[in-house]
Amino acid sequence: MIDESTVKEWHVLVVDDEPDSLEIVTRILKYHGAAVDTASNGKSALEMLSTLTPTFIIMDLSMPGMDGWEMLFSIKNLPTMKDVPVVALTAHAMKGDRERAVGAGFHHYLTKPLNPISFFDDLLALFVKQDDNPLANPAKGDT
């Protein structure tokens, strides 16, 4: 059984250029009691990360300006962010994107459109500590 109470301790940064998508993710997370910060582009997300250390980051891959791939690189270069998992969220799931994303250093890869229930279940499976939680062995073997 997954203990949902730890969700209350989550502080999630959501980065997406589409306001609707941002709102949907925010609503799901907030509904379950997590604290959420949002950024609509890579630049403002990086600014926020200078003062904030979230539990994990959910990030759209295709954004104008700095896209998700570049963002991941910049985030991983921040000394405080080394151990913060970044989850990719994208609308066009091309073949091989999942492998590419995990290979690039994303903690996990989720696709749009998101089903609010399964989306949250996935997050629980990823980030709530339990004995056989894939968090200990992030994303690998879970594709």
Partner: protein, 479 residues
Amino acid sequence: MDSQSGWVRKVIAWWQNPTLSQEMDTTLTQAEQAYQHTLVRILTAATIVITPFIGLGYLGAYFFVVRSWSTLLLAFGLFSLTPVSWFGLSLSRRGRITQAVRLYLLFLLIVSGMLTALLPDPLVLIGMLVSTFGALVSFFLEPRRIAVRWLVIGASIYVAALVIRQVFHIPPVELGVIATVFLYVAPVSLFVVIALLANSTIQYLRSALWESETLRSRAEESYKQARQATAVAIEANRLKSEFLSMMSHELRTPLHAIIGFSGVMLGGMGGQLDDDATHMTERINSNSLHLLDLINNVLDLAKVEAKQFEAENAPYSPADLIKSQFERMQSLTQDKRFDFHCEIDPELPSMLIGDKDIVQRIITNLLSNAFKFTETGSVKLKASVNSDRSKWLLSVTDTGIGIPAHATEYIFDPFRQVDGSSSRRFGGTGLGLAIVKELLAEIHGSIKVDSTEGKGSTFTVEMPLIVSTESDRLEARPR
């Protein structure tokens, strides 16, 4: 003879008015040279062989018929033609055809001048004069100016010969008219005939060359046009696919918002909904999911058609894949009135090499298709291996409305259903089977359908069976 290719060019320009390519010009010049070369060789060789016999004839006449010095002179004159011809032959072998021909003709004129001076019959002599000149201008294609010069030389020799004959009262060589004609006119006539034949051959060659050139240029033009048309078609297809792919992406973005928000509402994350509102939100959610499915199908087809889809070859477990697809699709049959089974042949190897995603899409599309057209009865998904273990088969059998025989030809075409009313009654874009067919083409598979109208259909997919070995499996482990 450079002047000749110029002459040929003019004739052809006047004759058919084509623009000769450089290549054809070269070919024609080569043919001309070959023709002249051959002709000169025939003439000189014939002269080398024939004239000694004629000379011998005169020598015989000197000894047995008329013992006059003029007969002897004529005999040696004829003998002298042989070494001259020999020299002409060697000249022509060294490529100096013009010189060879001119030397030969000059000597021929001198010998016939001798004949004019020595023979009694002037008619024969005039015939020789004319035929020599005719041969000269007609068949060696000399420019007119040079031909006239030759005429003057020839005429001077004849006149000189006639004068010598009158002044010196040379004793005539009497051989009779028939012998004279045979001995003097025949070789020249032979020469004329050979030249005529050669000339008509070269004319034929020219026209054949011209025709082949015309055909070639026409073929080239058709090829160019075909290539342009292909390029245009390819470009149009690419643009179409690009457009579809872009549109699909643009259409999906707002759909994601609709699906996401209705999902949030259904999950109670946006406040409690009453039953009516829940029902309507469910409809919004399921319809938008359906719409997304259609758009995804269009995008898939566009991708496959644009050849942006590359089949991969990786080990996977077909049984696991089929089971997971079966379970996933089972959730869609909850409110249906038919049974849904799955049967996997134990012979099916546990690991295969192939493209898992493609197989999954094929299963999904075939099952969606069966579900769409089946009201009651059953839908069965079956996996098996063929008798020689070269292929494995996936079949979906339903007890749906079936397909009329005439429609089995086109149900695999994009946007085609059995008839227009199907799409109204059963929904769908008519893309599912088209996608299956295109995907199968990528993995060298095939599909066939066996159906009875009103009873149901069986779609059978055949795919190459490539069994994964242990080493493949090790490689495929997640890194």
